[in-house]
Symmetry: C2
Subunit: 199 residues, 2 copies
DNA sequence: AGATAATAATACTCATGAGTAATATAAAAT
DNA sequence: ATTTTATATTACTCATGAGTATTATTATCT
């Protein structure tokens, strides 16, 4: 007969944190539906009712992870807003720096990132919010001549989100590119275009 | 007691096609897991066993839709490959034309497109394949001086896929932008960059 | 030390939804 | 006209997985 009741040295905070991190990994790898509460608790060395001691239900733990991602990400994008009066010469460095910060966060939190980008219902909302933030960053502080007026900033912001997502998934998370380098390449393409000016 | 047996004027091909198109819509709106076979057949005015007359199981009908999307998309990307010897002056028009064709397909098949872009397991594979195609298109036929050598074509191709996806979802499918116009804007950003050259 | 709170397990229930067995009717083939 | 094939229905089974009632053990508080 198995061990019943509270375990020696057991600690609620710890169990909760463990469940949360395992859940993040399961959701990231298998998606919401294919993640079973039973397999989360199994990996944690706990049982089903213990799970419900810390989370109201499966949906709740998922939402908690989503919020974690959202808050971190939006804090970063807010920080990467450019202050007024930047010289054109340092513009690209400043943008690169902000992007690299975001990529670093993704790299350090791959599970959260996959959830935020993949789990369609919320991913869509997240990307839209991110695009809005980026658009605000661009128009409110850097519209005075930095960028070509012909460009629709909304289109541009959405494009940037698309690029960030795709390169995060294909280059950053698999370890093929470092945050800094990736940020540089994106900025280079966007600022200068790809046409060969030496032609 | 309800009608039993074959209905007057009933036609297998037709029923199958109906189920397929309703399924596409359900998968697109609700995702794979939240789409119930029972609700598909209900909308089609049929019953569960009839579904299994035409499709082996839920997975099979989903895969059939995925294949439909894949084949159409890859046929289009193949067609949009640029033949050698294009003048630099018409380069941007040619790329725009190819992109617009892809966007038109998406616009005419919004359900398939959402499935192809959203349903994570296959969406990822699809995007990767698309990026590879684009990369081949770019390097094999247009490497001779059109584009700056400094740019990693793989990064570029992945970026383009990200942009296509995001703008399809946010601008094209909601009807905010027409295929042609969208293609033009993308090409403009990519070829020329966004920096204001008049500065 | 005794009472209470926190943390955990055993052993369930219960809804849901995929898939099926058996049967009936219409259309096509002989 | 009769047989066969195609298309459909009613009325199930059955697995799965989320969530729970009850009970036990350890830690903490008074």
């Amino acid at each position: 007969m198995g061990q019943r009741g509270r375990k020696k040295g057991s600690n609620g905070e710890q169990s909760r944190a463990l469940l949360l991190s395992i859940a993040a990994n399961e959701f990231a790898e298998n998606g919401y539906h294919d993640t079973k509460v039973s397999s989360i608790v199994k990996r944690a060395g706990l049982t089903q009712p213990t799970f419900y001691l810390y989370f109201q239900n499966k949906e709740a733990i998922f939402q908690e992870l989503v919020e974690l991602f959202r808050e971190n990400l939006f804090s970063l994008t807010r920080k990467s807003r450019l202050e007024p009066g930047i010289e054109l010469s340092s513009l690209s460095d400043r943008i690169t720096y902000g992007l690299a910060g975001i990529f670093s966060f993704f790299k350090e939190n791959p599970d959260l990132t996959k959830i935020g980008f993949y789990e369609s219902a919320i991913a869509e909302e997240m990307k839209r919010e991110l695009a809005i933030q980026i658009e605000e960053n661009l128009t409110s502080e850097v519209q005075n001549g930095y960028f070509s007026q012909a460009i629709d900033m909304c289109i541009f912001a959405e494009s940037l989100v698309g690029i960030i997502e795709r390169l995060t998934v294909t280059k950053l998370l698999p370890g093929l590119k470092q945050p800094n380098r990736l940020a540089e390449e994106i900025v280079d393409i966007f600022l200068n275009g790809i046409i060969n000016k030496n032609n």
